[in-house]
Symmetry: C2
Subunit: 196 residues, 2 copies
DNA sequence: ACCTAAACGGAACCGGACTCACCTTATGGA
DNA sequence: TCCATAAGGTGAGTCCGGTTCCGTTTAGGT
């Protein structure tokens, strides 16, 4: 129950191996669509006992978050690149769709994005903050350029996207989600100082 | 486990009393904000045993749905009235905000609205269908009048709203939700045949 | 080799929803 | 009025997850 600090002391070799096995097993399960895989199964398919799982991760949620941390990293790096290559408005549009599409990579990812975006769970505080910052960056760039309204904050928009990702469940959800996101985007432009 | 058909045979007097007590206790709890009140507590505060609760309601979810059925009825009646008193576009705007505000009446309502709107649970099939129909009505009226885009369906919009209601959790969520809803509305008008 | 802190294992626990076999009582017909 | 009987009520018990705890094992430094 005391997740070792990142660099407190290098993990023992076997511990390192197990930790990785757990992450890999969990990733496997989530990407396979088993959004709510049981901790026991994850542990078993990692060739480890539950106790070991809990030595490495405070809770089931914490394990999940760790699995997706790299995904979140990738996502949060996107805005910078997008702004380099596109005008702010377009960068924002692309990022919104990128998020939604990302949520589609296996049902697993979307449920985590949702958890990150739509809940208050302290486990996701870090991820949430980073993603809200990423959005703020885009919104500010857009409103500075006058093509995006300036009264919407990163965190607010993040919540909305979280809600949209919460739509996953039905057959055609991705199409629906994209459509709604486009709608939201139109709404963001609509109130812009100098736009339609 | 076999919810009596509405009018198969009039419930025995005591059964009727208990059923009502359960609904009332549940309503009480949900409106008080205890979104995930335990079935035992609900049963206890209704003065009956768990078994009795389960005689009347298939599952916890079913009880919840029943509690909110009347709410949903009210909500679904609104579009008709709104269309009588306002142009389609304005009726739509008002209805969207009405939904969000309704979700704010106690955290309980919002979680149920969310469950109705954002999941596939068969328990809410009925409510979901009715609400999607209500939205379709407004959307059609709006697109017929040329003030609302015509490529968004009731069910899709319902999902989006469900997502937004899923935002409840944080302090300022209502303000955020209203803002996002307004954004969505702007988006709906944006692609309209003859609009901005 | 030996020692010890680190890591592991897994039975036990706990907190929920839900079930079931048995008991209680409303009710309608004699 | 009273009884038969089926509708209704009961609550201990089951099931199913996540989580904890402590005795055992082992990596890895001396």
């Amino acid at each position: 129950m005391e997740v070792p600090l990142p660099a407190s002391r290098p993990l023992r070799a076997d511990a390192q191996r197990n930790r990785e096995a757990l992450l890999s097993a969990a990733r496997q399960a989530f990407l396979a669509g088993d959004t709510d895989a049981h901790v026991k199964d994850i542990a078993r398919s990692a060739g480890v006992a539950i106790g070991t799982l809990y030595r490495h991760f405070e809770t089931r949620e914490a394990l999940i978050e760790e699995v997706y941390r790299t995904e979140v990293d990738v996502l949060c790096a996107a805005p910078g690149e997008l702004l380099d290559q596109h005008p702010p408005e377009e960068a924002l549009r692309r990022f919104l769709l990128l998020l939604v599409d990302h949520a589609a990579v296996g049902k697993g990812m979307s449920s985590v994005l949702e958890a990150i975006m739509a809940t208050d769970s302290p486990v996701f505080d870090d991820a949430r903050t980073r993603m809200a910052d990423a959005l703020s960056l885009l919104l500010h760039a857009g409103s500075a350029a006058g093509t995006v309204r300036d009264d919407v904050t990163g965190p607010t928009l993040l919540r909305a996207l979280g809600g949209i990702c919460g739509m996953r469940a039905t057959e055609g959800w991705l199409a629906e989600a994209r459509q709604i996101t486009a709608l939201l985007f139109d709404g963001l432009r609509h109130g812009a100082p100098q736009a339609a």
